[in-house]
């Protein structure tokens, strides 16, 4: 029995890679101006929010749970930050406050799921409504604006065009990377780093695989399982920052429905419902896959709801691919664990 199975397995790459490549090729062929640096920089900049919450969605899913409240928490964090800014609080404090709110909310979710043992679907279903109504409450159901100068540092920092700064003002702006992109990149890099380089990955996998044997291995199960939800909340907060900066205002429905897109992206990325497997890069690529659908449809000038249809079909396709990849694993041997 050859224990050194070096042949290529489709499962070595996150499943969303294949979907992304298929979509990329499809759109590059059919959509004019798709495969251009200008478009790519647009994609990079705008997909950020989805990327962030997809990362956030991955953690609870990997532990075998789910976070339906993520979108509403974005609204809540955004409103909190908006209220702070409106009242003249300097931007960096407001931002930290908002993220803290998100993290705390996520912690409460995790507590309800793992300490009080309410099933994750029901918990986050309930807290989704709670977060949404809190957002409405704090904002009086209105859009919140603030004076320009309170967050000028933040806006300036995030909106600057870095490449332009670094390479001087070129005549033709081929490719631009704004501060936002850098910011997202930093957050993403930090998440991947923390996930892979500290014990998060193996402990979360172990918890998702079999929570009891994880406990027997000496893993602090509560810390990581509740932490997974806290991270989801934290990511919602960070995503809220981005939306805030881009739209220069905060509305109580700014995150509505985003949790589903995040879950779809994460699922396509291999973070399946039973937990114990999956990856952060998978979710990121999944987020991009979903995003380029919207992007391509816009370019084609089609009704934006065409993207809904394509996304739905992509999701189903993604599940089928997940299944096929798992079957290949089974065939290629090993996996008796």
């Amino acid at each position: 029995m050859n224990s050194r199975n070096k042949s290529f397995r489709f499962s070595s790459l996150p499943s969303s890679t294949y979907i992304f490549v298929i979509l990329l090729v499809l759109f590059s062929i059919t959509v004019p101006n798709f495969f251009t640096p200008a478009n790519f920089s647009t994609i990079l900049e705008q997909a950020g929010v989805l990327v962030l919450i997809s990362i956030g969605a991955s953690f609870p899913i990997m532990t075998g749970g789910i976070d339906l409240a993520a979108g509403s928490v974005i609204s809540l964090c955004g409103i909190c930050m908006g209220v702070f800014l409106h009242n003249g609080i300097p931007d960096y404090i407001a931002v930290i406050g908002g993220v803290l709110v998100g993290t705390l909310f996520g912690f409460c979710n995790g507590y309800l799921v793992h300490k009080i043992k309410v099933p994750p679907f029901i918990t986050t279903f309930g807290t989704m409504g709670i977060a949404e109504s809190l957002a409405n409450f704090f904002s009086d159901s209105r859009t919140i604006y603030w004076k320009e100068n309170t967050n000028v540092h933040l806006i300036r920092a995030l909106k600057t065009d870095l490449l332009e700064i670094w390479f001087g003002n070129g005549n033709s702006k081929l490719f631009s990377i704004s501060g936002i992109v850098l910011f997202i990149f930093l957050v993403v890099a930090a998440s991947i780093f923390i996930f892979n380089k500290t014990s998060w990955k193996e402990n979360i996998y172990a918890i998702g695989h079999n929570i009891e044997s994880a406990r027997l291995c000496g893993i602090k199960v509560l810390k990581f399982s509740i932490g997974a939800y806290a991270i989801s909340g934290c990511m919602s907060g960070i995503a809220a920052i981005l939306i805030l900066v881009r739209s220069n205002c905060a509305t109580p429905i700014m995150g509505s429905g985003m949790e589903f897109q995040a879950i779809v992206a994460a699922t396509i990325g291999g973070n399946v419902a039973e937990g114990g497997k999956g990856s952060i890069p998978g979710s990121i690529i999944g987020a991009f896959a979903i995003f380029i659908i919207r992007n391509a449809v816009n370019y084609l000038g089609l009704n934006s709801f065409v993207s809904m249809i394509i996304t739905g079909i992509t999701l189903l396709l993604g599940m089928v691919i997940n299944e096929l990849i798992a079957a290949q694993d089974l065939r290629k041997g090993g996996v008796r664990v």
Binding site: M1, N2, S3, R4, N5, R9, K197, T198, S199, K201, E202, N203, Y205, A206, H209, N210, S213, A214, L216, C217, G218, I219, G276, K277, G278, D329, K332, G333, G334, V335, R336, V337
Partner: protein
């Protein structure tokens, strides 16, 4: 050189004194004394249900003993738990491996206690250390590879490495070779010998008798929760071993009387599937046919395939001269063929549902007051009539038919499962471990029921790991080993040791004689 000779001069790593453990209705362990010396391989052997796994669970801390003491390195352990036992240096290698498939070898080995610098894992160091540890076990695996890509034998080695990485000096192997190929077994033994030289003491539970003689230093035989004997492996031979494993008095709780068999109701011809090959057997009307063999021999797999739960590759199943065309439970039930599964709680009943629902689920058409096509309206009067009829005829111990089956005792649950099939008017039954987890009183009731069934012309195939049950109830006995039928006995010629020999993979005495003649 055995360590027993050295052993007299050394302190035991582990000592169990007077360990007893009972569960409702059954005494799992009775006054067990056991010890383990450094560098020895101490084999534990016994039938299914002899108490080996309970003993292991006590050592690992998953169970607490009712009486008795446990000492590790001379210190008495007052409270044990899986985490404590690990800290004491006890490493368990279970049959169902405990690795995370989507993580790398190194990460699995260091699961729960990674090498860190501050917050950051030192992956390179863990990989390197894993590689070293694996090399010591003669394994040339790349530690950065995902566990799921590796074969079972390799995974087991990783499990061993994992235990060793926690500085275990006592290892407990539970059926380590049951899924290994010969080459992997060879490697395992090589590793075990290396560990012996390091002074690590090992308990080794196995059904494979040849292995005992190859790798064991001492052997302890358990039977019915009692220790029969501990002896040096060199002081005993195969036949004596089997005698001691089996040799109990067969009590007379088996009311079965032999009937004249009628025509074959169940015929399985050359059935081959994932876990079994070329299985052929038949059960005639009026017969109880026993199916014996060790755990993992493939008996349940054959039953599931024949009944239609799992797909099989080739062969046929014939019921009352009609070949089963579709491989599905529904089809089988239509032909009057049913299975009482091994795991009655998860596969035989829906625990959250009550007695009445469980009993009628396979035969709802009998409760219809009227029907349109296959949509039928259930008549509660008919329901309760049928249900009370069977509750009384099977003496099912439940106050009402509305009681949820999860609250019934094991024996009562089994009766409900049987009732379900009786309501469906089945004539061919496969009972898989019919009396497992059932107390003595209920056991004899079930035996009486089985006897009554075959008296009425039914055919029963009874899979059991309880030898006395097999010998007491069967008219004929098939013995399976390694996925094949290794032999067949008529009730008159069957003996415990005869069955065990075939079950353990020995050829029958007849076959031996034939070989000698050749």
């Amino acid at each position: 050189m055995t360590t027993c000779e050295k052993g007299e001069l050394m302190e035991p790593l582990l000592e169990l004194k007077g360990i007893s453990k009972s569960f409702p209705g059954v005494q799992a362990l009775d006054d067990i004394n056991l010890d383990l010396y450094p560098g020895e391989v101490h084999v534990l052997i016994g039938e299914n249900g002899a108490g080996k796994s309970t003993l292991m669970k006590i050592i690992s801390g998953a169970y607490q003993s009712d009486e008795g003491t446990m000492e590790v390195d001379g210190k008495q352990i007052t409270k044990n738990s899986p985490i404590i036992s690990e800290q004491l240096g006890i490493g368990m290698i279970y049959q169902e491996l405990n690795l995370i498939p989507e993580l790398s070898v190194a990460k699995n080995i260091f699961l729960g206690h990674p090498i860190k610098k501050g917050f950051v894992n030192q992956d390179k160091k863990m990989i390197q250390k894993s590689r070293e540890m694996l090399k010591q076990l003669n394994m040339d695996v790349d530690p950065s590879v995902l566990v799921k890509t590796l074969g079972v034998g390799t995974q087991q080695m990783i499990e061993i490495t994992k235990a060793l990485s926690r500085e275990a000096n006592i290892l407990v192997f539970d059926e380590p070779t049951s899924s290994l190929a010969d080459a992997e077994i060879h490697n395992l033994f090589h590793v075990i010998r290396m560990l012996q030289e390091k002074g690590i003491g090992m308990f080794y539970i196995s059904h494979r008798l040849e292995e005992i003689f190859e790798i064991g230093d001492r052997v302890t035989i358990l039977r019915d929760g009692k220790k029969i004997q501990t002896t040096a492996v060199k002081d005993i031979n195969m036949d004596q071993l089997i005698e001691k494993i089996a040799g109990r008095k067969i009590e007379n709780l088996y009311p079965h009387t032999r009937k004249t068999p009628g025509k074959p109701l169940l015929q399985i011809n050359n059935l081959s599937g994932r876990a079994f090959k070329n299985v052929s057997l038949h059960v005639d009307a009026g017969e109880i046919v026993g199916m014996s063999g060790l755990v993992g021999a493939g008996r349940t797999e054959v039953a599931r395939a024949a009944f239609g739960i799992d797909k099989y590759f080739s062969g046929e199943v014939i019921l009352n001269d009609k070949k089963l065309k579709k491989c599905s439970p529904r089809e089988s039930v239509k032909h009057g063929f049913c299975l009482l599964p091994e795991n009655r709680k998860t596969e035989g009943l829906a625990l959250p549902r009550d007695v009445s629902e469980n009993m009628l689920i396979s035969a709802l058409d009998q409760t219809f007051s009227f029907k349109i096509g296959s949509f039928g309206v259930v008549d509660p009067k008919k329901e309760s009539a049928i249900v009370s009829q069977y509750i009384s005829s099977l003496k099912i111990a439940t106050p009402t038919a509305r009681k949820l089956t999860q609250f019934l005792s094991g024996g009562t649950q089994q009766k409900v499962v049987l009732a379900k099939w009786l309501v469906s008017k089945c004539k061919v039954f496969i009972f898989d471990e019919p009396t497992r987890g059932i107390d003595v009183g209920a056991k004899s009731e079930i035996y009486k029921l089985m006897d009554t069934l075959v008296e009425g012309g039914a055919a029963i195939l009874m899979i059991s790991s309880d030898l006395s049950e097999i010998l007491g109830m069967s008219d004929r006995i098939y013995v399976m080993c390694h996925g094949e039928i290794n032999g067949e006995f008529d009730a008159d010629e069957a003996t415990q040791s005869g069955i065990l020999q075939l079950a353990f993979g020995q050829k029958g005495k007849e076959a031996d004689e034939n070989e000698q003649q050749e």
